[in-house]
């Protein structure tokens, strides 16, 4: 496997960084072992292991001491009030915050054992494996087909492109609606269709993880239902992390839920992780009174 990294199909046990000479780049997370075929045989396997993560924007601290493990093939929801750092945390998982002026991160986020912010990690390669869908649908001003085909083309995945596009659109439950107008502009689609197109675009390059930043908050209830059904069908094939303001949505789709809140430890409130557990536990019998107040709607 001496091809350039971007042309290699994903194997999750590969280091994100280009092969280093010291041989230390490949480190499994604790308690995980890989078989010779590259499959993990210890369940549940942790994809992201966040260790004491704090995030700063300039002098302002946005997030403090987050310890959180995200399991493979599951849907993990991040919930909490506005400004609690849940989107900051999500965007830190694929280095989308790097372009924010003054962004600084402490602690480490291990992805399959590799530090996402390690010295020789290439952020483009990180995002090639960890895809993201944004709050507002953002299709390119190109045809429906070209939107989905764009990333595979630019990553050198040109063989079987038409099949790949069809598979991605079917995967995003959009194929039947658009198969007769693939050459039409994506901007002519409805908001819900555009968002599913963005999901199709993200899964067309077969990422390992999908990060969804409030993917349904700009959509009506019917389109929201379609996106939630879609998440259920993508579960297992992809590890999904979703930020949502909508607690019912988290309860409906997520296997595990993390509750973030603003904590006034010093003089300024800082986002922190309050509780992380199975979704049923978070919404049914939360351990922390702050979680209980929030999920029952008593939060101020």
């Amino acid at each position: 496997m001496n091809l350039p990294p971007s042309r290699v199909r994903i194997r999750v046990d590969q280091p994100i960084a280009p092969p280093s000479t010291n041989g230390n780049a490949i480190l499994g997370a604790p308690g995980m072992t890989a078989t010779a075929e590259g499959h993990w045989d210890v369940a549940p396997e942790v994809v992201f292991d966040s260790r004491d993560v704090s995030v700063f924007y300039g002098a302002k601290q946005a997030l403090t001491g987050v310890n959180l493990g995200i399991r493979r093939g599951e849907i993990t929801a991040l919930i909490g009030p506005s400004g609690c750092g849940k989107t900051t945390f999500l965007r830190s998982l694929n280095r989308m915050n790097d372009s924010v002026p003054g962004f600084r991160i402490e602690g480490e986020i291990l992805y399959h054992g590799h530090d996402i912010y390690g010295g020789n990690v290439d952020q483009v390669e990180v995002r090639r494996r960890i895809g993201m869908v944004f709050q507002k649908p953002n299709p390119f001003p190109k045809s429906i087909y070209d939107n989905v085909a764009w990333a595979p083309r630019n990553l050198g995945l040109r063989s079987g492109l038409a099949e790949r596009v069809e598979k991605a659109l079917r995967g995003a439950a959009l194929w039947d609606e658009v198969k007769d107008r693939l050459k039409d502009s994506a901007l002519g689609l409805s908001g819900g269709q555009q968002q599913r197109l963005c999901i199709a675009r993200a899964i067309a390059i077969e990422p390992d993880v999908l990060l969804l930043d409030e993917p349904a908050s700009a959509l009506d209830p019917i389109a929201t239902g379609a996106i939630e059904d879609l998440m259920h069908s993508l579960k297992g094939r992809f590890t999904i992390v979703i930020v949502t303001h909508n607690m019912q949505q988290a309860a409906r789709v997520a296997d595990r839920t993390a509750f973030f809140s603003l904590e006034t430890g010093g003089e300024k409130p800082i986002g922190s992780l309050i509780e992380f557990d199975d979704t049923e536990r978070i919404f049914g019998s939360p351990r922390d009174p702050r979680t209980r107040d929030y999920v029952t709607g008593r939060f101020g």
């Binding site: 989308m96 944004f134 990333a151």
Partner: protein, 307 residues
């Protein structure tokens, strides 16, 4: 109970106005309204004065130049026509565009995609200063470095050197204009591309530039219109040229529109004046149509990006 007798709030002082009075402007408000009307009138007048100047210029050029225009005037060399100047201008401006367009677009990409806030501010300011540079100074600069036989390189007059001088005038126009077009492209577009694990230069080539292409063309046409009329640099760089025959060799001095207009109006020959007006009419028509066409294209590409 009458209105005046009702309580009027804290302190129980009477209001400064009578709420029941008719709602017309009186006293101080009336004076302010009159001043406001005068200001509006002056501003409107200034705007129409500018339009009037353009109309008068265009009318004068048409009135005095239309008579000179004929097929021979456009296609023949001196003394009947001005073909060498038209061809020379096209080649000189073409060379300038070939140099300036790529550099200008790259500067705009740097400003919008790569530069930090401080660097972008500095480069933008430099572009604005360059844009304000008098054309004669650009001319003297290029003359000293490339043309003057006592100078650094000393190549003598040549059409391509005229293109270099015009490119210095065009670069800031193209850079700033393209920057404006690229700013219209929503940040969510490059964010979407970033999140797909595609390298930035591929995003620039296949998402950002295609979206901006119409706008970039427009900006380039506007800068061509501006450069085509620049006289000062070419007087120094490409003025000692034959007007008797068409030349397409950019390595010698080439006749060109602005310099030809200048020469014809300096000649002690009434026929020359009329030719100068005719050539002026050709240039002013080109500039007007290029500008109008370019603006229509801007409107179209804006709709395309934002829809």
């Amino acid at each position: 109970m009458s209105r005046e007798a009702q309580p009027v709030g804290a302190g129980d002082r009477p209001r400064a106005y009578d709420p029941a009075a008719p709602l017309t402007a009186t006293g101080n408000l009336r004076r302010r309204q009159i001043f406001s009307k005068l200001t509006e009138f002056a501003a409107t007048g200034a705007a129409f004065a500018a339009i009037a100047v353009l109309v008068i210029v265009v009318y004068t050029v048409i009135a005095r130049g239309a008579g000179a225009i004929s097929w021979d005037f456009i296609t023949k060399s001196a003394p009947e026509g001005v073909a060498p100047a038209l061809v020379g201008s096209a080649i000189i401006v073409g060379i300038g565009t070939l140099i300036a367009a790529p550099i200008g677009v790259l500067i705009a990409l740097y400003l919008t995609q790569y530069a930090g806030g401080r660097a972008a501010g500095f480069v933008s300011m430099t572009m604005d200063v360059m844009n304000g540079l008098p054309a004669i100074i650009v001319g003297v600069f290029v003359f000293t470095f490339l043309v003057d036989t006592n100078g650094t390189v000393g190549l003598g007059q040549a059409g391509w050197i005229g293109g270099v001088a015009l490119s210095i005038i065009m670069v800031p126009l193209i850079a700033r204009g393209t920057q404006g077009v690229l700013r219209l492209i929503p940040k969510s577009q490059s964010e979407a591309a970033d999140a797909l694990g595609v390298a930035r230069w591929r995003t620039v080539l296949s998402v950002i530039l295609p979206s901006a292409l119409g706008g970039i063309l427009t900006v380039t046409i506007l800068s061509i219109a501006r450069a085509a009329g620049e006289t000062a640099p070419l007087l120094l760089i490409s003025s000692n040229a034959s007007v008797d025959q068409v030349s397409i060799n950019p390595f010698e001095a080439m006749a060109n529109g602005p310099v030809r207009i200048y020469q014809l109006s300096e000649e002690a020959n009434p026929a020359g004046f009329s030719e100068a007006w005719g050539l002026s009419l050709l240039f002013i028509s080109f500039i007007l149509f290029a500008s109008l066409g370019a603006r229509a294209m801007v409107a179209r590409s804006k709709r395309k990006i934002s829809s």
